[in-house]
């Protein structure tokens, strides 16, 4: 991988990776950090990565980093629940389906959220998502199905989002 190729990938993939990170973290600064880390690792391993899989590699790095962060953040889960309860009225009063859907996506389990975002935003196939998330194709399919069912439940009953 040459420097020119790398810079082209920055142009091509940075926005998508950033969106993926942003949708998961809900924090632009954290998302930027994740994108920079991902590209830094890509540059370090530029000699070992198949150029055709560079994009998947970037998403894989970000996905793994997000899972790590989620594990660390579980310690603060109680506080989050407490804060979320304060915003309950906001959710129930929201009539914006898009906003409600985004909130519902944020409530999905980590892995389900990843596969849905990769599927809907990036249009990856089950196989590609499996490669990124280290899951089998069947697992990806089931996770996506579960996620859709949960999202449907939350859209029908917005109070479940809280």
């Amino acid at each position: 991988m040459s420097r020119v190729s790398y810079n082209e990938w920055v142009d091509s993939f940075a926005d998508g990776v950033y969106r993926f990170a942003l949708k998961n973290t809900k924090d632009s600064e954290q998302a930027k950090d994740l994108v920079q880390d991902a590209f830094a690792k890509l540059w370090i391993k530029k000699g070992q990565i198949d150029p055709n899989k560079a994009k998947a590699y970037l998403y894989q790095i970000v996905s793994n980093a997000l899972i790590d962060r989620a594990r660390k953040a579980r310690l603060n889960e109680t506080l989050k629940v407490h804060l979320a309860s304060k915003d309950a009225t906001v959710y129930t009063e929201s009539v914006d389906l898009k906003k409600t859907l985004e909130d519902a996506v944020a409530k999905l389990p980590e892995i389900q959220r990843h596969v849905v975002l990769l599927r809907d935003y990036e249009g990856y196939s089950y196989e590609e998502i499996g490669a990124i998330t280290s899951l089998t194709e069947q697992q990806v399919k089931v996770y996506i199905f579960r996620a859709r069912q949960k999202l449907r439940s939350m859209l029908v009953n917005p109070e479940l989002i809280v």
């Binding site: 142009d11 926005d15 859907l101 399919k141 199905f145 859709r148 449907r152």
Partner: protein, 338 residues
Amino acid sequence: MTYQNIPIEVWFIELFDGTLSEEARHEFLAFCLINNIEVPDALTTLMPSEDFLHPKDFLNFPSHESILNDPKQDLLLAYNEGLLNAADAHWVEQQIEANKAWKSLHAEFSATYLVPKSYEFLDKKLLYKQQPAPWWLSASIAAAAVFLGLMLFLFPFKTNDSGISRPTSKVNGKTKKIYQDQPAQPDVSLPTKTSEGTVDLKVPSPIKGIVVSSSRDCTLHPDAYTEDELATTGNNTQTSIDSVVRPMDELTQMAASKNHEKTLRSIIKERIIKRIFDREDNALVLERESKWFNQSFGFKYKRQADRSFSQVKLGPFVFEWNKKNKNSNFLSMLPSNQ
């Protein structure tokens, strides 16, 4: 990909009939055990105990999970995901058209799809990799550094004579005139003791009332003050040294006595600071505390234009020394005997 959803009843029938392969049988039984599936009474004898399970069974993803799902939901999800073949997809479309429940459920699942929205990563310039510097440039810089180091090693800075500095900058006539050798002022109050006794020191053009002695001594000679001057200064003993109107830089702070008690020495010191700063606006002024002889402080100053080789500039200070005179102070001022 073709979507297949085999209801759990079919699995049980195949299990009962013994038509499942050994691997499929194990997977299905493990799935039932792990998920606490209620087994029909007729099949309870076929269900193994939990010892049947291997650790890897818990790690394996329950791939048969969809058999527990509502077939309608599974089919609609598969339809939305594009997993059905043409015939199945057509059948589902017919159900959606004909059946209200299917239609409603289809609309609800369709609403779960996220609409891609573009986000721009604005800090791409941080990610770009720039063209590295050519190797010859790095090599040239390294060679120049080595050469410079070698030159410094072979030709170190040194002065021609003890106590005399070699000017590096061109000194114009005016400056030369200012720094002509001056006859030393006799150090009456505190003679410098050498083998010959008291030494007459050559100093720069003395400021009235101040004699800066040799670079080593830096002793202060208050003798040239007039009585009026001393009297005037003495009447102002309540004034703090810090109140002297000049920039409160480090030098001034260094010069300020820790003990604000106004002694004759502190008064003279204050006067000297004031005069030096007032008269030598562009001068480089250094000072240090001298522990030699009977004086506990000393002043050294020098004009900017008279820098010598043996100078090192560190921030606002220029340190200079005389290598030949090992007994000299590190910060001694060289032009003192000009």
